[in-house]
């Protein structure tokens, strides 16, 4: 459902139930607000001071009346409490057939690990119409996984797992926010939930979290180079303006390492650079590259190598 004046789009099975509670409390509040403020304004106008000698009645209390307006709200809050709790339990109890995805939060990034080892960064692909269970953990401080359109929020804590789940009802993209303040990049700790039809989703996971379709290896590698964040550190245009080695024309050339030795940049060298980057560190650079062992599947590594080779070829 589209967004309303107060609430965002409803994109999960639970959203409508949450919104029902919201709008019930809302209209109840509107009623009481109108009652109290309406009476207040009415009294102020009706009983405004007309002369400094106005005489007023000495009305001190009425236990019956006061008991009345203590008990009526009591019933209403019991109702809201019970309703809110009931829906909350539904939000908490994960359906048995849920598809499990591991979520890792770190400053300032969301990582999602799929059962086959596929890892995506900032993009949570999910199938439409199937519950998804998120098993979450933080690597540093407390974060909070929040998708307004799904009405899901759960803190992500270090040294402890927390769980959330949702079932998406419509194909499309939905914002992920970090809702627990976590430092400088807090407001940029964005991500997207990418809801796909089940078959598209399966292909997507198989392709390593990328809509690869039947791309040729070089193209696939190029996509991976962006998605796997290589592009954040490496330039590929020969400018070397990103503080890390420029990868243009690396392949097939001698590379000088920090210990002064040289090594031929062949396929195995490229592979090692990704899996054990600290094994041979390029001269003039620090060992700052994270290992991608476990984050890349074999065909992805191959595609990346093909892409880097192609960079050499275009020279």
């Amino acid at each position: 459902m589209d967004k309303t004046f107060f609430m965002p789009r409803q994109a999960s099975t639970m959203a409508a139930a949450v919104d029902d509670v919201y709008y019930f409390v809302y209209w109840l509040s509107v009623f009481f607000f109108a009652l109290i403020v309406g009476l207040m304004i009415f009294f102020v106008i009706r009983y405004r001071r007309r002369s400094p000698d106005d005489v007023t009645p000495k009305i001190t209390h009425s236990y019956a009346l006061e008991a009345f307006w203590s008990i009526i709200p009591l019933f209403l809050i019991i109702l809201i409490f019970a309703w809110g709790f009931k829906v909350y339990l539904q939000l908490r109890v994960v359906p048995a057939n849920a598809f499990e995805i591991h979520v890792t939060a770190l400053k300032w990034q969301w990582q999602f690990t799929y059962p086959d080892g596929t890892v995506t960064i900032g993009e949570l692909g999910v199938p439409v119409g199937r519950p998804v269970k998120l098993l979450m953990n933080s690597q540093d401080v407390i974060h909070s996984f929040y998708v307004p359109d799904m009405r899901v929020k759960q803190d992500v804590v270090p040294n402890r797992y927390t769980v959330a789940w949702f079932e998406a009802t419509e194909v499309g993209d939905h914002r992920i926010y970090c809702a627990e303040y976590c430092g400088d990049g807090h407001s940029q700790m964005y991500g997207w939930v990418k809801v796909m039809p089940p078959d598209v989703f399966n292909d997507w996971v198989a392709a390593g979290g990328i809509e690869a379709g039947n791309l040729p290896p070089v193209e696939y590698g190029k996509l991976l180079f962006e998605k796997k964040t290589c592009i954040v550190c490496h330039s590929v245009d020969g400018t070397g303006n990103k503080q890390c080695p420029d990868l243009l024309g690396v392949f097939g050339h001698e590379v000088t390492l920090t210990d002064g030795s040289t090594v031929m940049a062949d396929e195995n060298y490229l592979r090692r650079s990704m899996m054990e980057p600290n094994a041979d560190v390029v001269q003039g650079y620090r060992a700052e590259m994270p290992s991608f062992a476990g984050l890349l599947k074999d065909d992805q590594t191959t595609a990346l190598i093909e892409y880097i080779k192609s960079l050499g070829a275009s020279e």
């Binding site: 004046f5 965002p8 919201y22 409390v25 109840l28 509040s29 607000f33 109290i36 403020v37 009476l39 207040m40 009294f43 102020v44 009983y47 405004r48 001071r49 400094p52 106005d54 005489v55 007023t56 009645p57 000495k58 009305i59 001190t60 209390h61 009425s62 006061e66 307006w69 709200p73 009591l74 809050i77 409490f81 309703w83 809110g84 709790f85 009931k86 829906v87 909350y88 339990l89 401080v141 407390i142 909070s144 009405r151 929020k153 759960q154 804590v157 270090p158 040294n159 402890r160 914002r175 926010y177 809702a179 627990e180 303040y181 976590c182 430092g183 400088d184 807090h186 407001s187 940029q188």
Partner: protein, 547 residues
């Protein structure tokens, strides 16, 4: 007792007690060493007002930055984070907690009890200086590398960050003692120094409110002190308490923190409710409706308020059982507040309502606090809290309670008692118009934020998604209006000290004890101990038809 209330310089001059407290002693030193609760109240008033203005300027900077989704005005996200942390910490610890009790309470509690001073005048002065030392620590922390943790100091972020967390938490730790001592002093004063005839159920409701507040201050603040101390120890000595890397539990900190800070919310609002209970009978010329219900509801809030801290942590991963219990108790604590609102409204019935500035603030309080209270229901309800937690909805909700509630009450009390405290009248019409500006600006700023939060805009964001810009920009304009309102107020109140008309003894025709004495009060408040014969709200005439 009476000699203890006379400050050092001229202790044996018998006439000094009869002179207006502002003139009874002269020179700066007579203020620095004063033991007079009225002068200490005035010094607190100056200090909390200064803090309020500093915190307010920070709020304006924050709102200015948020006009645009990208970072435009401030140099970095970090500076933004430091600003909202300072805004929160200053407003909570330096302004709102001491505002009503330590400033207005100090001045009027003893007078309302028919006493010459609080029970421990020296401790009272000590509280003030401890407050000043705490404030100095806060300033040092700003110079050393201002804290960027949020005023909540959540671990493990607060253990990690490079900013001067230790200095700031020490500041808050010290301020806590100031608060504890004031609370202690008030409790003893209420028990021991009531004038003859002033039974518990003849006490003004402002006194009841301060009494309830003091209980919370004395019982809850030590927990904050211990928590902040543990945090400092963890940072300095690397003992694993909250940081998981050292084997600690980060969520434990949240429990400790809110065990204080939720009751602290009532430290902030209950005194404000007390002021409203004073203003409304005076300007409606009616006895307060349901005195006992209002008095007991303060105590009920103070007690139940201790048991609801977990509602700040519904998404933290605590067990479903805990969540359920905290939700239920949270709803329960809303009842006493609701009773008060109904009783205040009922007091207006068949009154003779005079819309002077204090009354306008009191009515604004009812309007805004009702919204603040009702929106609390959205947050107490578990299903909706999950969605709304840590969004702008929370920001809006607590500003409606803390600013729409406490600050409006503080403004009401300030205008109500200004003539008594200073001996001067402020320009009435200007006061009324400014109240309108403040009311308008406040709603523009914060009502918008309920919509933002419901739409999913998280709080503490230096930058944000384009879709939220129109509402953010509108809110920022509101903040400017609000700022103008407070600036005008500051200006005309200061002006009134110079040029304001001389205030009569009882400009509002109130029956309450403080209005029966000299304006401004004489140094020893009463020439002879008053004997109390009735309620402070004995307005109106017996009609027979009434209840």
């Amino acid at each position: 007792m009476s000699t203890a209330t006379l400050p050092g310089p001229i202790p044996h001059d018998h006439d000094v007690g009869r002179i207006n407290y502002l003139h009874s002693h002269r020179g700066v030193m007579s203020w620095v060493y004063t033991l007079d609760h009225k002068r200490i109240g005035i010094m607190y008033l100056a200090a909390v007002t200064a803090s309020f203005l500093v915190g307010g300027v920070m709020a304006l900077l924050i709102r200015a930055e948020l006009i645009d989704p990208q970072l435009t005005m401030l140099p970095s996200n970090k500076v933004y984070n430091q600003l909202f942390t300072l805004h929160g910490a200053i407003m909570v610890f330096l302004f709102i907690i001491p505002s009503i009790p330590a400033a207005l309470g100090n001045f009027f509690l003893p007078i309302m009890l028919g006493a010459k001073d609080v029970a421990f005048p020296r401790l009272n002065l000590a509280s003030f200086y401890i407050y000043v030392v705490g404030a100095i620590f806060a300033v040092i922390s700003i110079v050393l590398g201002s804290v960027d943790t949020g005023w909540t100091f959540y671990t493990p972020y607060s253990v990690d960050t490079q900013t001067s967390v230790v200095m700031m938490t020490m500041g808050a730790f010290i301020l806590g003692f100031s608060s504890i001592f004031t609370g202690l002093n008030f409790i003893v004063t209420v028990h021991k120094l009531r004038a003859p005839g002033l039974t518990w159920f003849r006490m003004p409701l402002f006194v009841w409110a301060l009494y309830a507040t003091s209980i919370i201050q004395v019982l809850a603040t030590p927990v904050l002190g211990i928590t902040l101390l543990l945090l400092a120890i963890e940072r300095v000595a690397h003992v694993g308490i909250f940081d998981p890397l050292m084997g600690g539990d980060p969520v434990l900190f949240q429990h400790f923190f809110w065990f204080y800070s939720h009751p602290a919310v009532y430290i902030m609002i209950v005194p404000g409710m007390g002021i409203i209970s004073e203003i409304i009978p005076t300007f409606a010329r009616k006895p307060i409706f349901g005195y006992r219900f209002i008095a007991f509801s303060s105590i009920a809030i103070a007690l139940i308020g201790f048991l609801v801290w977990g509602h700040h942590m519904f998404t933290s991963g605590q067990s479903e059982i805990a969540v359920m219990i905290f939700s239920a108790l949270t709803f329960l604590v809303s009842i006493p507040s609701a009773i008060k609102v109904f009783n205040w409204t009922a007091t207006l019935y068949r009154g003779s309502i005079d819309l002077k500035t204090p009354m306008l603030y009191a009515l604004s309080f009812i309007f805004l606090f009702t919204i603040g209270g009702l929106t609390g229901l959205f947050l107490g309800a578990l299903a909706t809290d999950i969605h709304l937690h840590d969004t702008y909805f929370i920001v809006a909700h607590f500003h409606y309670v803390m600013v729409g509630g406490t600050v409006m009450a503080f403004m009401g009390g300030l205008h109500y008692w200004w003539p008594k405290m200073t001996g001067r009248m402020y320009p009435e019409l200007l006061g009324q118009i400014t109240c309108g500006i403040v009311f308008l600006g406040f709603n523009m700023t914060f009502f918008t934020q309920f919509i933002l939060g419901s739409q999913g805009m998280p709080r503490r964001y230096a930058t944000y998604d384009e879709q939220f810009q129109p509402l953010h920009a509108f809110s920022s304009v509101g903040a400017l209006v609000l700022g103008v309102g407070f600036a005008i107020t500051t200006a005309y109140l200061l002006w009134s000290l110079w040029k304001g008309a001389k205030a009569p003894r009882n400009p509002w025709g109130s029956l309450s004890l403080e209005w029966q004495i000299e304006t401004p009060p004489i140094h020893q408040n009463f020439l002879e101990t008053p004997v109390i014969e009735g309620m402070p709200y004995d307005y109106g005439v017996e009609t027979g038809s009434g209840h």
